[in-house]
């Protein structure tokens, strides 16, 4: 008997993961990526870590019905998106956001040229100013590389809505970024 490994239940090995092991493995593989996803949605690293931690706790509690790392990852993404949306409604986040000129943890990247730093800030600011659904669709589409069907499932909306949000969102984002960045930066 070899140690159970993190592969899909559709894989060759029988999935033999308990909730704790699944939690540890999913954490090792996806903690950073999911926090980054939440940063794109929230623009606040502290809040992003909170939301992502909550998502992992929720996933652990649901492991009995998930039982599959791929399903668990889909669940984690969905939960991160949903809880980010809730967190944005929370006044504290909004206030912290308003009080802060630059996103936490991004401002002091010593090796990043100024141009890149400005562009990062511009992208996060622009995303933050989009309507929630547009921001979510764009991030799922371009950052996570999800298909229209997967985005529709993650957000619980129709494929048509995904299309509409994507096209309006990307037009709005490009407009915002063109305003914020000098020509040639994009």
């Amino acid at each position: 008997m070899t140690a159970p490994t993190l592969i899909s239940s559709s894989g060759q090995l029988e999935v033999d993961l308990d909730a704790d092991t699944a939690l540890e493995q999913l954490y090792a593989a996806h903690w950073r990526g999911l926090v980054r996803l939440a940063v794109l949605l929230l623009r606040d690293q502290g809040a992003a870590e909170e939301v992502t931690q909550d998502a992992f706790v929720a996933m652990h509690g649901r492991w009995w019905s998930l039982r599959d790392p791929d399903k668990a990852l889909a669940y984690l993404r969905k939960t991160v998106v949903n809880r980010s949306r809730s967190a944005l409604r929370h006044r504290g986040v909004v206030e912290r956001y308003a009080a802060r000129q630059r996103p936490l943890g991004l401002a002091d990247a010593a090796d990043a040229p100024t141009l890149v730093r400005d562009r990062r800030t511009a992208v996060l600011d622009a995303l933050r100013s989009l309507p929630t659904r547009q921001r979510e669709v764009l991030v799922l589409r371009h950052y996570l590389d999800l298909s229209e069907v997967e985005i529709a499932e993650t957000l619980g909306i129709s494929r048509g809505s995904v299309k509409a949000h994507a096209s309006r969102g990307s037009a709005a984002l490009r407009r915002l970024l063109t305003d914020r960045l000098h020509e040639g930066d994009l």
Partner: protein
């Protein structure tokens, strides 16, 4: 990769979240106790079994039940050799001489420390292409003291000078191997002091070490094309995406998917938005493999070679095996 994907990845690539495993374990344990107020203790593993019920129990084997930890309830079962991955660095060959490659391996326990990371690093790596030149037992401890990682050398006389058969480049790279590995364990770029009995060592492998050392520049030390995802022997169905880091001419990062006969069945080029001064993230986007027969394939990334091989040095390469279902 489209421009928005590049901008989004760039916008968060420097976000290094705090390690929250301790809080997570505590939160999970609290949630578990809330769900299972009447369950006999014995760790959250036991709690998880009750929650998951028959579904998991039928997959469990006796093997797992023999070493149930005793003592206070813990959020995480420590009895299994199946732990979060440690990032360990090893020497590997490239056309431009030795470089460091990163290997993820399960650690001995959930509490990743620079000491446990170093003790793993002194074992042989899983990948036969990688190696470590440090004799087993060279390092006896490592800990953070006043924002410096102190690495305790057990027998300074044995590693004060270059070892037999070790080139100066390999000696310097071996020192960086230790620095990169312990920094990965503490997830901070703290400088590293080699010590014995708490006192700084003047030199290790003929490298001056009396002052705390910073890590070597990534473009001078690391392999210039590396894969973060997929992990080794990842099972994929329909499609997969790959990403990693590279510093490659004009930001072009060619990739290939090769079948078991080494024939290239898919290929493409990922793009980074910079190169030369450091490693930049690359991502392939979705690679459709629904038309490929099931089996083992090798995913390969490499640095671009503007001379087309004419200069004879050849690209730096990293590979992963994936299993297409």
């Amino acid at each position: 990769m489209d421009d928005l994907a590049t901008l989004f990845k760039e916008a968060v690539e420097d976000v290094e979240p705090r390690d929250r495993r301790a809080e997570l374990r505590e939160a999970v344990a609290v949630a578990g106790r809330r769900r299972l107020r009447h369950t006999v203790t014995g760790g959250l593993l036991a709690a998880a079994v009750v929650v998951t019920g028959v579904a998991v129990t039928v997959h469990r084997t006796d093997h797992h039940d023999q070493t149930e930890p005793t003592g206070p309830p813990r959020a995480i079962d420590r009895s299994r050799d199946n732990r979060p991955a440690y990032a360990l660095y090893y020497l590997g060959k490239t056309p431009q001489g030795p470089r460091l490659y990163r290997e993820f391996r399960p650690g001995p326990g959930p509490d990743m420390t620079p000491a446990s990371s170093l003790s793993l690093m002194q074992e042989q790596p899983d990948d036969p292409d990688y190696r470590t030149m440090w004799p087993a037992g060279t390092f006896s401890d490592a800990q953070v003291v006043n924002d410096v990682i102190d690495v305790e050398v057990a027998d300074p006389a044995s590693v004060g000078h270059r070892l037999d058969g070790m080139s100066p480049a390999e000696a310097e790279l071996s020192v960086d191997q230790v620095i990169y590995t312990v920094q990965a364990a503490v997830q901070e770029e703290l400088s590293v002091q080699f010590t014995h009995d708490g006192s700084p060592l003047a030199q290790v492998l003929d490298v001056p070490t009396s002052e705390p050392l910073a890590r070597g520049e990534s473009v001078d030390v690391l392999a210039l094309a590396s894969i973060s995802n997929p992990s080794e022997r990842r099972v994929v169905e329909g499609y997969f995406s790959a990403d990693g880091q590279a510093s490659s001419f004009e930001g072009a990062v060619p990739w290939e998917l090769r079948d078991s006969n080494d024939a290239v069945v898919k290929h493409g080029t990922a793009q980074t938005y910079g190169y030369g001064d450091r490693l930049y993230p690359w991502a392939t986007g979705r690679i459709d493999v629904s038309d490929l027969a099931p089996g083992d394939y090798e995913f390969v990334v490499m640095t671009a070679d503007p001379s087309g091989g004419a200069e004879g040095s050849g690209p730096m390469v990293d590979t992963r095996t994936i299993i297409i279902k």
